[in-house]
């Protein structure tokens, strides 16, 4: 066992933590908020409110 073996184990642990966080948070958000709200984003909102494409 040298430092590289320990780094391999550390990489596995960190990978599991990152994956676990994302999956947990995704499930938590999906079960907490209404899907209509989560998918309410609309393209071009800034253009409609702030910018006018006219010369």
């Amino acid at each position: 066992m040298d430092i590289w073996n320990y780094l391999e184990y550390a990489a596995w642990v960190l990978s599991i933590l990152f994956a676990g966080f994302m999956l947990y948070d995704t499930v938590r958000v999906d079960t907490t908020y209404d899907n209509e709200l989560l998918t309410s984003s609309r393209e071009g909102e800034l253009e409609l409110t702030a910018e006018r494409h006219e010369i």
Partner: protein
Amino acid sequence: MADTTAAGGEERLSLLRVLGPGHVWALGVGIVLVGEYMGWNFSVGKGGMVAGLVACWVAGLLYTCVAMIDSEVTSTVAAAGGQYAQAKHIVGPLMAFNVGLFLVMAYTMLEAANAITVGFLLDTVAGMQGHTGLNQQPFIILAILGLAWLNYRGVLATLSFNLVITGIAFIAIIILFFAVEFGASAVPLDFTAINTEPLPYGWLGVVASLHFGLWYYLGIEGTCQAAEEVRSPARSLPYGTMAGIMTLLIAATLTWYVCSGLIPWEYLGGSGTPLFDAARVTGSTSLMVLLFIGTAFATLASANGCINDASRAWFSMGRDRYLPSWFGAVHPRYRTPYRSIVFLVPIALIFALGAPLDQVITFSILSGLLGYTFMTFNMVMFRRKWPVASIKRGYVHPFHPLPAIVLLVLCSTAYFAVFLGYGTQLIAMMCFYIIASLWFHFWRYRFVKRGDQFTMPWPRPLGY
């Protein structure tokens, strides 16, 4: 829940507008700079030292056209999805669906290639320290999952991180150049091969080298994907993109110069990490450490930017129902397209763990090339339907339609170059996109809300 915006009295979630021109630069250059650290040198293997330089500059011309065209159109169509949103507004739904797929495939494959490189790099360093048989898998998986997590948590932190590590990777190339120029290398620069073996495989070798010459700049068009998250799209996107291509032209030329001068072309053409190897040739430990850090940072910055861009393209297609609308969700706290980010992780892992590097790179290049080909007629149609005097543009590129024509000619040459080395993959890729197009046309398009697709408040196109 405080992080929502109200539009017309209705509570809505949207991506956060927090980015500036520096972040746009970091996104574009961050994705690409890894091409200076690995991959471009196969062009030298295909055609020799001179062919490598020709490929560097011809591809540079191709991407300067891409940057100019992209800057004009994106400064007007400021939406996540970049070229996908452009195609939707200017060409039509089927083109938009294909462009969206080109983007997702190009960036996801590039992300996988970067993760493979991280594993290879660590294996090299472990080998130099006497450790043999390093298991690369946990490091490949960690690179993808760690960066996906960063992307999941917010775009500002993601691209600020990219700004720092991309800056360090770029400065490392500059330092190597000056160090070698001012005599810090134990081995002097040697360009005698330019006279003794100018074109070992003739002009066909020059054409073949163009395939890997693209690697110097592949992905600069990714700046467009930040369109919906920059504070001022009309200003930041052209500024960040044009600054990015200038940075890359400098970095690419310096890279060719240092590597070709230090490493014989026969070895350079097969190197896995050419800049790192050039630093090893100098005999300077500090340069070696610096270029190792540069290689690692460039690789991580590229993977990071690819996750950002692929998820935005996937998210935009979901939002328009080109894909299931489930993918068009925004995280209520982090304001990122979190479902798209999570969904693309296993796809990147499958390619990173199960496919050889050159195949993954080739699929990425091919998808990118298809996207560049689209840009040529997209630009011509954009100027015809909405002439310069009809709508406000953040940037108007000069000499139209010359950049579009040059881009089309160079794309055609690059297809031929790819066909010479990877004809089967080229045909397989085309078959994939044809089948996907049939699926979209005969099945998926019925779910699209057709009236909602055109979101830009532009006047009616000329002739309609």
